[in-house]
C-alpha cells in the first residue's frame, strides 16, 4: 500500500509526538552530574517534568528561566542569567544543558552570547560546562531534540584524543533496562566503550538512604571528551538526519568511522548490533549471547502459530516503530499500520525490503496523529496495538489491546524497567505480544465459534 497521508495540515488530533525540549531533556538526563534549564516560560519545564516523572517514576528536576511578559519584549538574558546562577547554586552540576523553547527562539535569544557573558560575569562557575541547544517546539519533535542535544554535547566537550581500542555507542531513546542490557552485551566483547547517553541509573535509580537530587551517574564527562579517540562509533537510529547525528559529527570532525544500526530489538537487529561489536572488537560473539539467541529462536517457534493471526498497528518514535515492525515481521505478525508523529519519509524506503510480499497490505504514515491511527483500526482489521500509553483512547474506543512500548507510558508502572533490547528483551517483548493475542483469542473463541457454527 502506498504511503497515503491524511490531509492534516491544519489540525493534529491526539498527538503522536512530543516537543524538542523534551527529547533534549531526556538526552541531558543521561550525562554525569548534569542539570537542565529550559529557556522559556515556566510551563515548558513543568510539563516536561510531569511527563517524564510519570514515565520513569523518578524525580525529574528541570529548571526554567521563567520568562515573563517584560522579558519577552526586552529579551530574556537577565532572567536566563539569574536562572543559571540559581540552578548552579542549588544543584552544583558539572554540566548544565540550556535548551531553548518556542518562546526563546521566537524572540530571537542569542544563547551563545548570553552564556559567554554569564561566564565572564560569574567566574566562580568557570569549571562548569555549558551546553546550549536550540530546540524550538516547532522545529521538530522529541526525536530530533534528543539526537541534536547529544551532538551539541559532543561539539562542546569532545577534544582531540589519542586513538585507543574503544567503541562509542550512541544509544537511541530506550529504557533504563535496555541501556543496562546494551552495556552488558558490549562488556561481554571485552572492549572498552562509551555509551552516550547513559540513563541506566539516572532515570532508574536504586533506592538509597541518602537521596541525591543530582545524580552522579550517567555518561562521565571525561569519557565524552575522549570519544574522538575511539576506533568506531555505533549509532542506534536508522532515521536520524545527518545534520543532527552525533556519530556523524565524530566522523566528520575526528574521523571516527560511523556504523549505523537499528535499535537492537528483534533477532536481525540484535544480530546486526552484535556483528558490529564482533567486527570492531575483533572478539567473537560470546557463548552466553549465542545461548540467548538460541533461546529466542526456540521461543519464536513456540509462538509462531499464535503470531500468524496478529495484525498490528505500531506507532511512536520512528526508530522504535521500525524496530518493532521488524520484530513483528520476523514472527509473522503483520504490521499493517506503522505510524510516527515525526517527519520520517525514509521509513518507508527502509522497511520496503523487509515488507516484501506484505508490502501491498501494510501502510506507513509519518508526520501523523493518533486519530488517524484510530481511523484505520477497523478498516485494516487491526487486532493489536503496539505503542505508547497515548493509544489508550484507541484501546477504549476500538476495543483493541495495547502493548505499551516507547515514551510515554503513563498508566502503568515500570516503564523504565521494561526490557526490549537484545535477544532476551526481544523475546520478552515477543512473549508479551503473543500472550496478548492468545488472551484475545481465548476470551472470544468460544462465543465466536458458537455463533458461527451452532445451528
Amino acid at each position: 500500500m502506498k504511503n497515503k497521508k491524511r490531509n492534516f495540515v491544519n489540525l493534529n488530533i491526539n498527538p503522536c509526538k512530543n516537543c524538542m525540549p523534551l527529547g533534549s531533556s531526556t538526552a541531558f538526563k543521561g550525562i554525569e552530574a548534569t542539570m537542565v534549564l529550559l529557556h522559556g516560560s515556566q510551563g515548558c519545564s513543568t510539563y516536561i517534568r510531569r511527563h517524564m516523572a510519570t514515565h520513569y517514576n523518578e524525580p525529574i528536576d528541570i529548571a526554567s528561566s521563567s520568562l515573563n511578559e517584560k522579558d519577552t519584549v526586552h529579551g530574556g538574558s537577565t532572567n536566563l542569567k539569574k536562572g543559571l546562577k540559581n540552578t548552579l547554586c542549588l544543584y552544583g552540576p558539572k554540566l548544565i544543558g540550556i535548551s531553548t523553547t518556542c518562546l526563546a527562539e521566537t524572540i530571537g535569544e542569542d544563547l551563545q552570547r548570553i552564556v559567554t557573558e554569564f561566564k565572564e560575569e560569574e567566574p566562580r562557575f568557570q569549571d562548569v560546562v555549558f551546553v546550549p541547544v536550540s530546540t524550538p517546539g516547532y522545529g521538530g519533535s522529541n526525536y530530533e531534540g534528543y539526537y541534536l542535544t547529544l551532538r551539541n554535547i559532543l561539539e562542546v566537550l569532545t577534544e582531540d584524543a589519542p586513538p585507543r581500542i574503544s567503541v562509542n555507542i550512541i544509544a537511541g531513546n530506550l529504557t533504563s533496562a535496555d541501556i543496562r542490557k546494551i552495556k552488558e552485551m558490549v562488556s561481554l566483547f571485552n572492549i572498552d566503550y562509551t555509551i552516550l547517553p547513559d540513563i541506566s541509573k539516572t532515570l532508574d535509580a536504586p533506592f538509597e538512604a541518602d537521596y541525591k537530587k543530582l545524580s552522579p551517574e550517567g555518561t562521565p564527562l571525561q569519557r565524552i571528551k575522549t570519544m574522538s579517540g575511539a576506533k568506531a562509533t555505533i549509532e542506534m537510529g536508522m532515521l536520524v538526519p545527518e545534520h543532527i547525528s552525533p556519530g556523524k559529527y565524530l566522523e566528520d570532525q575526528f574521523q571516527v568511522p560511523l556504523y549505523r544500526c537499528p535499535l537492537p530489538i528483534g533477532i536481525e537487529n540484535t544480530d546486526t548490533f552484535l556483528k558490529l561489536l564482533e567486527e570492531i572488537s575483533g572478539n567473537p560473539i560470546p557463548e552466553s549471547l549465542k545461548e540467548e539467541r538460541g533461546r529466542m529462536l526456540d521461543g519464536m517457534i513456540d509462538s509462531h502459530k499464535y503470531n500468524a493471526e496478529g495484525r498490528a498497528a505500531i506507532y511512536g518514535e520512528p526508530d522504535i516503530v521500525y524496530a518493532a515492525a521488524k520484530l513483528c515481521l520476523e514472527n509473522g505478525i503483520k504490521p499493517v499500520l506503522m505510524a510516527t508523529g515525526t517527519r520520517a519519509s525514509k521509513l518507508e524506503e527502509l522497511l520496503a525490503p523487509d515488507l516484501g510480499l506484505a508490502n501491498d497490505e501494510c501502510l506507513i504514515l509519518d508526520d501523523t496523529d493518533l486519530e488517524t491511527v484510530q481511523s484505520y483500526i477497523k478498516k485494516l482489521g487491526i487486532n493489536i496495538l503496539i505503542g505508547t500509553s497515548d493509544g489508550r483512547l484507541i484501546t477504549e474506543k476500538e476495543n483493541v489491546p495495547l502493548v505499551r512500548i516507547g515514551f510515554p507510558i503513563h498508566d502503568r508502572v515500570g516503564a523504565q524497567r521494561k526490557l526490549l533490547c537484545g535477544y532476551q528483551g526481544s523475546l520478552q517483548f515477543l512473549d508479551e505480544l503473543t500472550n496478548t493475542l492468545i488472551e484475545e483469542k481465548h476470551s472470544t473463541y468460544r462465543e465466536t465459534l458458537y455463533h458461527e457454527l451452532y445451528r
Binding site: V9, Y47, D61, S64, K85, T106, A209, L393
Partner: protein, 456 residues
C-alpha cells in the same frame, strides 16, 4: 547525613516562614512570578486556563501553537463525564517553522473549518500559546469570523505561557466562561445554584450533586466539572454561586456577581468538618426552612456514619506527621483540618498559587513551628520534609517520586486521582489512602535500609 542540603535561595527566603506563636508575624511573599532557576513546581498561564476549562465535556479544545502544549495536556486529567467525552482528545494546530514566519491565522481558521465539518460542535475554545502571543496572530478576529460563519461559539483564550503565572491563566479561563455565559442578565432567577470550582475528578461533583438533591436544591450549572455547553449558558439564571476552588473561581464569581447579580459564598467539601460546614452555609445562604431542615437530616445521616468509619484509621494514624504541597489555598486549609481530625500533625504546608488571605488562614490553623511555603521547589521540599520528619506528603504528580525517593508515604491529591476525596464518603477514602501508604509494609524494609546506612 553525609550530604549537605543547600539553603533556600536568597530570593525565596520571604516565601518560606516558620510559624511562631507571635501575633505580628512576617507576611509570606506570595502570588509572584516564579524565581528563575529555582525549579518551581508551577506551570504556566496556558496550564491554568486549560486545567479550568478542560472538564467541559462537549467542548473542542484547540491548542493554537506548536505540538508540545497539546501533547502534555492530552487526556491527563481525571475529570469524569456523564455525557460526551470530546474533552479527552487533544486538538492542536501543530505550528511549524513556516507558520511562525508567516503567521498561523489561516491554519487556525482551517482547523476550525475541519472540526466544524467533521463534528458540528456547539462550542470551541482556542488557546493561545507562547509563540502565538509573540507572532501576534489575531485570535479574536479568527474566532469572530468563525462564529459569524457557523453560528456557534468559538471563544479565544489569551493564555500565552509567559503572560503572567498560573493565576493569570485562571483569569483567562474565567473571562472565557463569562464570554460563554453571555451578555444577558435574566431578571427572573431560578431556585438553583451554580457550583464553581469542582472539576469532577474521579466523579467528585456527583457526590456533591447527590447531597444537593437530598437538600432539595437544584443545580443550574456546574463550572466546570462534568459541564456541557447547554448547561453553562444557563448559569446566569442561578440564585447563588457556591465557590470551591477559590483560587481559580473567585474571580469568575465576582464577575458574575457584577454582571448577573448572583451572590456567592465559598465552600469546601474536603473533610467532614468543612463538608458539614459548607452544606450548612449553603442552606443558610438560601434561607429556606425546608432546605435547612433537609440539610440537617443529611448531615446527621452522613456525618456520624463517616465519623465512625474514620475511627479505625485514627487509631492507626495518630501522631503521624503530614506535609502538604498542593495547588490552591482552600485545599491546603481543608487538608490541615482533615489531618487534625485523624490525629495527625501537619508539619509543612505550601501551595502553588495561594494568596495572602489563604496563608493567613493557614498560619492561624497551623501548629507552632510549622513550615509554610509558597511556590516551593524540590530542594526546599526535601530539606523541610527531612527536617520535620514528615511521614507522608500530599501533593501532585511531580512531587510523588520525590517523596518516594525520600522514603516518605504519599497521597495523590491531584488532577489525576482515580478516587473521590470529597464529601463524607471522600473523607473516608482519603483516610484509607493515607493509611494504606503510611502503614505499607514496604517502609519496614526502607527503615531497615536506613538503619544499616546510619550505622555505617
Amino acid at each position: 547525613m553525609s550530604y549537605q542540603l543547600p539553603d533556600p535561595l536568597e530570593e525565596r527566603k520571604h516565601s518560606i516562614i516558620r510559624k511562631t506563636g507571635k501575633q505580628q508575624e512576617e507576611k509570606i511573599q506570595c502570588n509572584q512570578n516564579s524565581v528563575a532557576g529555582a525549579v518551581s513546581q508551577r506551570a504556566c498561564v496556558y496550564c491554568g486556563a486549560r486545567v479550568v476549562l478542560n472538564p467541559i465535556t462537549d467542548a473542542y479544545h484547540i491548542v493554537h501553537g506548536p505540538i508540545g502544549c497539546a501533547s502534555y495536556t492530552f487526556d491527563i486529567r481525571g475529570s469524569l463525564t456523564s455525557g460526551a467525552d470530546t474533552f479527552r482528545n487533544s486538538f492542536s494546530t501543530d505550528l511549524r517553522e513556516t507558520d511562525i514566519i508567516f503567521g498561523g491565522e489561516k491554519k487556525l481558521a482551517a482547523a476550525i473549518d475541519e472540526i466544524v465539518a467533521a463534528h458540528h460542535p456547539k462550542l470551541i475554545f482556542i488557546y493561545s500559546t507562547c509563540v502565538v502571543g509573540v507572532i501576534g496572530d489575531d485570535l479574536e478576529a479568527v474566532c469572530r469570523n468563525a462564529e459569524k460563519q457557523y453560528g456557534i461559539r468559538v471563544i479565544p483564550i489569551q493564555s500565552s505561557g509567559f503572560a503572567g503565572n498560573k493565576n493569570a491563566g485562571y483569569k483567562a479561563a474565567c473571562h472565557a466562561l463569562l464570554n460563554l455565559m453571555g451578555e444577558e442578565n435574566p431578571v427572573e432567577k431560578e431556585a438553583g445554584i451554580n457550583f464553581l470550582g469542582d472539576f469532577n475528578l474521579a466523579g467528585e461533583i456527583w457526590i456533591n450533586q447527590s447531597y444537593f438533591r437530598r437538600m432539595g436544591l437544584p443545580v443550574v450549572s456546574k463550572v466546570t466539572g462534568d459541564a456541557r455547553y447547554e448547561e453553562l449558558i444557563k448559569a446566569p439564571r442561578a440564585r447563588l454561586n457556591i465557590v470551591q476552588c477559590a483560587g481559580s473561581m473567585t474571580y469568575l464569581a465576582k464577575l458574575m456577581r457584577e454582571k448577573y447579580k448572583i451572590p456567592f459564598i465559598n465552600v469546601s467539601f474536603y473533610g467532614l468538618e468543612d463538608t458539614a460546614k459548607s452544606l450548612r452555609k449553603i442552606a443558610y445562604a438560601l434561607d429556606e426552612p425546608e432546605i435547612l431542615q433537609k440539610t440537617e437530616v443529611l448531615i446527621q445521616e452522613e456525618y456520624d456514619k463517616a465519623h465512625l468509619a474514620l475511627e479505625p484509621y485514627r487509631a492507626r494514624l495518630a501522631g503521624k506527621k503530614a506535609a502538604i504541597y498542593v495547588g490552591g489555598g482552600f485545599k491546603a486549609i481543608s487538608l490541615i483540618k482533615q489531618f487534625r481530625d485523624l490525629g495527625m500533625e501537619t508539619v509543612m504546608v505550601g501551595t502553588q498559587t495561594g494568596n495572602s488571605d489563604d496563608y493567613e488562614t493557614i498560619r492561624q490553623l497551623a501548629a507552632e513551628d510549622t513550615i509554610i511555603l509558597d511556590d516551593t521547589n524540590p530542594s526546599e521540599l526535601e530539606r523541610f520534609m527531612k527536617e520535620k520528619g514528615a511521614d507522608i506528603l500530599v501533593g501532585g504528580v511531580k512531587e510523588r517520586p520525590l517523596a518516594y525517593k525520600l522514603g516518605v508515604a504519599f497521597c495523590d491529591h491531584n488532577h489525576e486521582r482515580k478516587q473521590p476525596l470529597n464529601g463524607f464518603v471522600g473523607a473516608v477514602n482519603f483516610a484509607r489512602e493515607v493509611e494504606q501508604s503510611i502503614n505499607s509494609p514496604v517502609w519496614h524494609w526502607i527503615r531497615k535500609e536506613r538503619r544499616a546506612y546510619n550505622e555505617k
